[in-house]
Amino acid sequence: MDFYTSQTQTIKSGSSSCSRGGDVDQFPTGLRVLVVDDDPTCLRILEKMLRICLYQVTKCNRAEIALALLRENKNGYDIVISDVHMPDMDGFKLLEHVGLEMDLPVIMMSADDSKNVVMKGVTHGACDYLIKPVRMEALKNIWQHVVRKKKIEWKDKDVEQSGSVEDGEQQQKASEDVEYSSSANEGNWRSSKRRKDEDEETEDREDSSTLKKPRVVWSVELHQQFVAAVNQLGIDKAVPKKILELMNVSGLTRENVASHLQKYRLYLRRLSGVSQHQSGLNTSFITSPEAAFGSMSSLSGLDFQALAASGQLPAQSLAALQAAEFSRSATTSAISMPITDKRNIFSFEPPNLRFGNGHQEASNNTKQVSLLQGVPTNMEPKHLANLHPAQPIFGMNGNSQVNQSNSALMQMNQLQSNRLLLNQTNGSRVPINQSSHEQTLMSNAIPRVWTPKGVERGTTYGHVSQGSSMVDFSVKQSTELPGTSFPLLSGSGMSTLSPKPIFQGEVNTEVRDLRNFRPGYELVNELHLQKTPDWSPQNNRSAFHGSQNSSFRVKDDLHSVFNQQAVSATTMSGDRKNVPVNNGFFSVGEGQNNTSNMGPVNPLLAYTSRRVKSESLTDPGYQSNLLSESFGHDDHYLLSALLKQQQDEVLPVDNDFGFDGYSLDNLSS
């Protein structure tokens, strides 16, 4: 941070790149460069040049080694310079890896100056392309790529934190240090947003500043915002322009979003290949207008609820179905669950509170499933259609006291989802006050809030008030529970759960249809990673084996990022619509009548639930942690289970990230 602060000051002073003999003090001294080239002569020359620029240089002659170094020390480098032609790995492949996994700026080099190769560098995301022989002048300026990235990151953080309760002092300080203040940026952003409609090309320049075409750092938060926006719009309708507007992140350009969207689609395509393998249910969802993301394979009661929520089932039948399901699970079949317990849930108190209530239930919850639903996994696939809304809630509810019926759980979930949904849609439907609303919801089997249509049906759901409660909830969650972001995310839309790291791991995914997106794995992975800092080892061990440790190392800040993301999602939506945080997560956009996009159901939840059932997740240590920890821990546990399952089925988990192995496998190259 100091480095960049000083860097900013350097920028402010108007220093340009310094000449060989002069102004060396204006260089970003200490910039940590990793240079990769199989040619020892070039490598030596580059090293010397970089040292003269007062950079800290690490050289290596093989891409594999470079990747290992980068993975081993994620924050150990600021920028990577790589040759294009290398014997062990194509430079572009390395570029992709670095971009996705570490998101560092990468400069490509080659003796080949033919346009198509240079273009390839650009399209693969290289922030610069140098023609060999590389001259000193070219290297002097590489620091600007790092600074740009950092500035964008800071701006993103500012945007995200503007409405969050979270303590973002550090970042705010950093942002203040940045030449362009966040408010200024946002102002620029908004005005440039308008201009965007007229001329998207110029907006980049008009936008604050710094960024001509800076390489955007797709931090976890940013990616989550992105995913939330995509979910909101629906993968089919998710055009960069709209995503950009939804994300409302200053400094982000349409081009940034477009390229990221491209990657994301590939990623989803790849996932769909996986998810379809695991559940044949996707297609059913896709057709349903309300089922935005169909990849819910192992959905159980949750799906049921979702389906109901989407208005496809009358409340009563849903309730009945739920009841039936629940009874199958040998729990209470009563639709009317003890209200008292649920109340906590509905009031959206911080998860830990809920957990408090459900301490004793924890074991029940896990038994019940998973995730949160507690719905037996013997639910038919068709019920799985509209998971998501319920999912997040599910997750949240699951932990709480649902020792009784799954139906109760489901209801609660429904309620929550409904509430979220209601809030989001600003539907003027149910003028029920909060408390009564909750109870009403409780008694209602299925809040069909998932979609706007569903909201209409769900007359028993108070909305506006809910909205506020939801907002609070989300905020609370984010602030109080580091791990809560997951539950929210999971509920809202799976896609949002796939944070950048996961996504990044998927280099060459061929995701065509977001609906088949099965973020569960990634979600788990992500969550898992995020949770690492907060969780005791035993939690991790429950499901995550092998590479987990390394994966944990990977993103230390994921956890907080994740939270931020949750919060920021709220904030974002809040700006626009007074919608609760989950907005980002629920594919159903607030008031957007996002009927076609249910948002990614939380396959993770569904998946996990199934998984949980099949596995004996009763790790006492874990459970106690679960009880005492925030909601997120549950998710972690479940996610771990899910991840493990996925890993077993899909990915070799030998790399730092489970998905690394996967992505590498995918890489054809």
Partner: protein, 144 residues
Amino acid sequence: MDRNQMNRQLANMRKALFDQGYLDEQFVQLEELQDDANPNFVEEVVTLFYRDSARLIQTMDQTLERNPLDFAKLDNNMHQFTGSCSSIGAKKVKHECSQFREYCRQRNGEGCRRTFQQMKKEYAILKKKLEVYFQYVRQVALLK
């Protein structure tokens, strides 16, 4: 010869290398990188180049003996070699490399072989010239 004379001699040698097209601007870049921390940087890099490229040349020699010629591989190897040459400013050698790659693209085996021999000649001539040059540089340095 006194020091001034030696310095002048050295400068002339250097100039000739440029004037005769053996070296280009990149060599100057290398010289500019030389400092107290690496007082013999240029010589060090040139030595590194010759050591490493010998391997490449040997590979290409072997590839050129095969029948039919693997032009893709030859072009690929030469591309690598070109990168090295250009990094030390070996102008004439680089020129021959470009010629070679052009013949590869035309799938002209004979042209490739011919050019390759020419390249090796230039490569050897430059090596010799630079050896003499650096020897002189060291001597002048000793005088100081």
